[in-house]
């Protein structure tokens, strides 16, 4: 809990500053949109967290979003597949890609960075190939299906409604929190991140756990891809989901995950995703911030956030050391 306070503080500060700078920030519609974007990116961030806690990394998240996002409208519109079958199929494909990543990493001992970097290139290439590099959309149909991405659950206050993806995220986040903090699986993942050799020597089936982590990550990327395309309505294979893996990793790191592995906080990841969406929102809303410098602002705030966090942690550790002598 303690390590989440930092990112929550950051979220509060960013929200306050944005609200002061723009009167459009604290409107029902804007908050609703922020929640929707946060939910979508939060799913990707949670997936990334499962891999990062083992000390690994997944760079293919954005390309899986692209593959799923393009295949789904392509299959239901161009090929006439049933929506239910399509959803099951694309999620199955995503999970399978995760299994393949995991097996390449554990069996062939390839480095996660390398395996998933190749995934990043391959899946986008496949998506562009299958679709002939043409934008894929639902046209105006399939509103039942698309509800999961663009749906609004009215609560009868102002013009605010709870976006459907936020419900999905809430469910996934609760499941992820239980899995990571209260099950033996979560314990094993953390043990692997701390010291994979020690975990293996203690009799943990480390390879199986690592494969499972990459599978969860790819599956959540797939789920995110589905909801993204349901929300937007169409996907352009050349740029759909581009650099989303970096947003996911940044959310996880902001939320207290160490890239060295072993540390994770589900709440932190979700708040981390929210910080990034508020920043993007601020850049759009606040008139004196030029849109063109979006990446620079996001990068700068994340860097400042983790740097301050590190300095504070060191100061605390120093004081503890002094007190213990």
């Amino acid at each position: 809990m303690k390590n989440v306070l930092g990112v929550i503080g950051l979220l509060v500060v960013v929200c306050l500053l944005t609200a002061l700078a723009s009167e459009h920030f604290m409107t029902g519609r804007n908050i609703e949109n922020l929640m929707r974007r946060t939910a979508l990116f939060g799913l990707l961030g949670l997936g990334a967290a499962f891999v990062i806690v083992t000390g690994g990394i997944d760079l293919s998240i954005g390309s899986i979003v692209c593959l799923v996002g393009c295949l789904t409208p392509y299959l239901v519109v161009e090929c006439g597949w049933a929506p239910g079958l399509t959803v099951a199929f694309v999620l199955g494909v995503a999970a399978l890609l995760g299994v393949v990543h995991g097996l390449l990493i554990t069996r062939l001992r390839l480095q996660p960075f390398l395996v998933t970097l190749c995934g990043l290139l391959i899946y986008r290439g496949i998506a562009r190939g299958i679709t002939g590099d043409q934008s894929q959309g639902f046209r105006s149909g399939f509103s039942d299906l698309r509800f999961w991405g663009n749906g609004r659950l009215e609560v009868g206050v102002f013009d605010f409604a709870v976006p459907a993806p936020a419900v999905v995220l809430a469910v996934v986040a609760i499941l992820a929190a239980i899995a990571l903090s209260h099950t033996v699986f979560g314990r094993y993942l953390r043990a692997i991140g701390r010291n994979e050799q020690a975990a293996r020597y203690a009799g943990i089936a480390t390879d199986r756990c690592v494969v499972a982590a990459y599978t969860v990550c790819a599956l959540l990327a797939g789920l995110g891809g589905l909801l993204f395309v349901f929300d937007v309505g169409s996907a352009q294979p050349a740029d759909f989901g581009n650099v989303y893996e970096l947003y996911a990793i940044a959310a996880a790191v902001l939320g207290g995950c160490s890239l060295r592995g072993g540390e994770v906080s589900v709440l932190g990841v979700v708040v981390g995703a929210a910080v990034m969406q508020v920043l993007r929102n601020a850049i759009t809303l606040v008139p004196w911030i030029p849109d063109a410098i979006e990446y620079a602002v996001i990068g700068g705030v994340i860097l400042a956030g983790v740097a301050i966090d590190e300095v504070v942690k060191r100061a605390v550790a120093q004081r503890r050391l002094r007190n213990s002598v």
Binding site: T183, V184, A191, R194, N195, Q197, A198, Y201, A202, G203
Partner: protein, 500 residues
Amino acid sequence: MLNARGIGRRFPGVMALDGVDLDVRAGEVLGIVGENGAGKSTLMKVLAGVEQPDDGELIVDGLHVSLTSTADAHRLGIVLIHQELALADTLTIAESIFLGRETTRFGFTQARDEHRAARRWLELVGLDVKPTRRIDSLTLAQRQLVEIARALSTEARVLIMDEPTACLSPTESSRLFDVVRSLRAAGVAVVLISHRLGEVEALADRVVVLRDGRRVGELVGEDVRAAQMVPLMVGRDLAAHATDHERALGPALLNVRSVTQDDLASETSMTIRAGEIVALSGLVGSGRTELLETLFGLRARSAGTVHVGDRAVRSGSPRAAIAAGMAFVSEDRKATGLLLEETLTTNIGLARLALRREGDGLLAAGIFPSRPNERALAHASIGELAIRPTDASRTTATLSGGNQQKVVLARWLAIGPRVLLLDEPTRGVDVGAKAEIYALLRQLARDGLAILFASSDLEEVLALADRVLVMHDGALRGELPVDEASEESILQYATGQTPT
């Protein structure tokens, strides 16, 4: 030329050094001896600028100095050669020697000049290999000599060697001693830290003995003898090491038949009975660790069978070995044993959780660890093994080596093993904890466990074992009941000579 006055260094909860004086003189080999945890390594780190003392002062050539980094120490000609060698595997010998001090022209490295210079230093340390060889193609002994060549090339006047022969064969060691003697003749001051008192006796002109962070004695010239050092180092009677060989032996518990593995030279068979403690002796690199790891399934065997009782153990799976009742305390508890940043509770429960035994109180509904029961287990283990401090929610990294080792033992005892394998069970463990671990292992044997431990410490082997198996070059070469075993007889097998 180098004088230390009243050096003190505190770590959380321990005085690592307490008012230590030390004079290092040119053209002299100074031995530093003491038990593990006596403060030898800390003192050397202070002299070499790796750590800063909390009290005291350092005087070099009559001037007060403060060394805040190894670079400061290097400038004054003080170089520490670490116990674990610090060379980058993929560089060449010449690149390693001049790392950080490259010969450059217009910003380009001058390989040919470096090779020529490197050859001169290699010659000086008696290492006859091409300076273009990569470090990872060298033996440990050769790497050691490269480190010394590197130190000499910086014009070191004080050379501090921390356990230089820990990984060397007797021939390699004696070569190294010749180099040390020639350095002494050339006026270099050599500070030698070693557990092998025989070496210190042979090499040192003077010996300083440390115990519990204090300087407890100094021996000069004729008095530099192991028999004089030991009482100073231990400071009390060795009664804790007294042997006990009156255990009733039960049926055979560990049965190893014709096991082969790529890193072992020949078929291995052995039987260990319930209540028996067997030592696996041999020099470093003789295959002891490889054999233990093969038995535990960390390395797949190519042929042969392993049984715990009547239960066959599948090859290449530590999980299968554990399920059959085997436990393995590995040699390097930091790299392969503990989750250092996690609590004692998590570490102690780990193996038992991984076993996922049905109906185990540690698990609820098969997938949720039960925190209260984990804590109860940790508290019970802490009490039983006298782990200090007793707080189960502490981070494991904050414990001393001996207590960390007890945490590893607690983890394995929690699964109720029948066969206990240990690799260097008291490495980096202080004297007190060592005696406790010996007593614990004897108690476990009386309770009917079969125990097989590998150790380089012959005293430990002789104190603990009922039977000694000796390895040389990846194969079991000899077997000695403890009453026939002596340091000499074990070493004969270990060095490949056939005893007459």
